[in-house]
Structures are given as structure tokens and as C-alpha cells.
Subunit: 103 residues, 2 copies
DNA sequence: GCTTTACTTGGCAGAATGGCCAAGTATTGA
DNA sequence: TCAATACTTGGCCATTCTGCCAAGTAAAGC
């Protein structure tokens, strides 16, 4: 088992790699299978260089595999449980109620 | 079902709320049950005001419940699947190999 | 009512992140 | 070999995030 400190650092890297609207959109788009960078650029709506950097960050965190075929680079998701986690997150309601006290 | 844009924003808020070493440590500490702020301050090792801000951010994202009893405020985790997700994340290996191409 | 304790919030400065533009690299077709 | 295409990387600037310090608030004990 890896060192707790290393494990925490890796967890942070993965979570940070998801903690941005464009990268979340990328992860969601890749649920249905691999896509190339220009596909993802169209989905995300940002500059190609920006998308490329997001993809690199996600890949270095271990979230994605990449495969170059001709001119295109294809990315696919490596994390099998993301959708479970996202659905679980969807069940959370942000805190809006006033703080309760006592019991 | 909520609007896709709102759902994505909520997902982002939750993931961002976890994307920091101190907040990850808080989430891990709360797996075993509720804790008060000064407990969590000892675990995280940051200033009390810093920990308090992290807790507020996590609560507003929907990750935590809070309960004031006397002088102490107790926090508990609301997200049941975090540990599953963390363990899944632990199974990912960050990308170190050179990029492969072709097939 | 005052003091102590636990916690929250405001202010500010520094660190980290993310955008675009431009340049660079690799691959492919002519 | 050259041009076109897909993609990556460097540079710079703006935005966001996070830390500490100090001040503020609420609850409890005396």
C-alpha cells in the first residue's frame, strides 16, 4: 500500500483535475467512449490550446488514456466509478437552511 | 430533474470543495463520525479561522451537516459515496509512461 | 455582568489556476 | 519537399483561491 501522504497527494491531483467546468464536461463527454481533441474542443467551447492543457492535466492525474492515430489524438476515460460518484453528488443539496443548533 | 447547467455547477462546487489537502483531510477524518472544529483544527494543523472557512465551504457545497452543542460546533459528512470514490481513485496510476501511438 | 472559550468573518497579501495568442512539433497528402 | 492539419507548449496577464491576523459573535461558567 502506498504511503498515506502519497495517496492523499494522488487523490488531490485527481480531484483537482476534475474541479473545473471544462474538465468536468470533458469527463462527462468521454463516458460514451473515446473522443479526439477537436471533438472535445467543440464540446467545451474553449481554445484548442486550453483544451489541450486540460487534457494533459487530466491524463497526468491518471484520469485519461491517450492514443494517437494519424493526425488525431484520442482520449478515453480510465476511472470506472466517476459516474457513480457524480450521481451521488447530484443527490446532495447545498446548504441553504439557517444553521440549526442544540438537539 | 434539475437543469443540466445547474447540475454541472453543483458538481463543480462539490468537487472543488474537496480539491484541497486540508479539506480532503477533513473529509477523511469525518468518515468515522462527527467531529468538532477544534478536533479538525488539530487534524489539519492550520489556523482555526482557516479550518472554519474550509468547513463553511464544504457545508455550503452540501458535503457536511453542522450542529452546535454548547460552545462546540460539530460537523458530519453527508456524502455516502466519498470513500468508494476515493478508493476508486487510489486504483488509478498517474500517467508516467511515454505517450503511445498507433495501434 | 464579566470573563473565558469556541468559532466565524473581514481584510489583505501571496500562491495557484486558467484564459488567449503565438510559436513549435508531428503527421499526412500532394 | 512543401503545405495543410491536428495538436502541444511557452509566455503573459487576469482571476480565483488560500493563508494568517485581528476583530466580532455566541454560549457557558462564575
Amino acid at each position: 500500500m502506498s504511503k498515506p501522504a502519497t495517496r492523499a497527494a494522488r487523490r488531490i491531483a485527481v480531484i483537482k483535475a476534475l474541479a473545473h467546468p471544462s474538465r468536468l464536461a470533458i469527463a462527462e463527454a468521454l463516458q460514451d467512449g473515446e473522443r479526439c481533441v477537436c471533438d472535445l474542443r467543440d464540446i467545451v467551447g474553449a481554445d484548442l490550446s486550453t483544451v489541450s492543457k486540460h487534457l494533459t492535466l487530466m491524463r497526468k492525474a491518471g484520469l485519461l488514456d491517450m492514443e494517437k492515430r494519424g493526425l488525431n489524438v484520442f482520449y478515453r476515460l480510465r476511472c470506472p466509478c466517476l459516474m457513480n460518484f457524480f450521481e451521488c453528488v447530484d443527490g446532495l443539496i447545498p446548504d441553504k437552511a439557517p444553521r440549526k443548533s442544540g438537539k
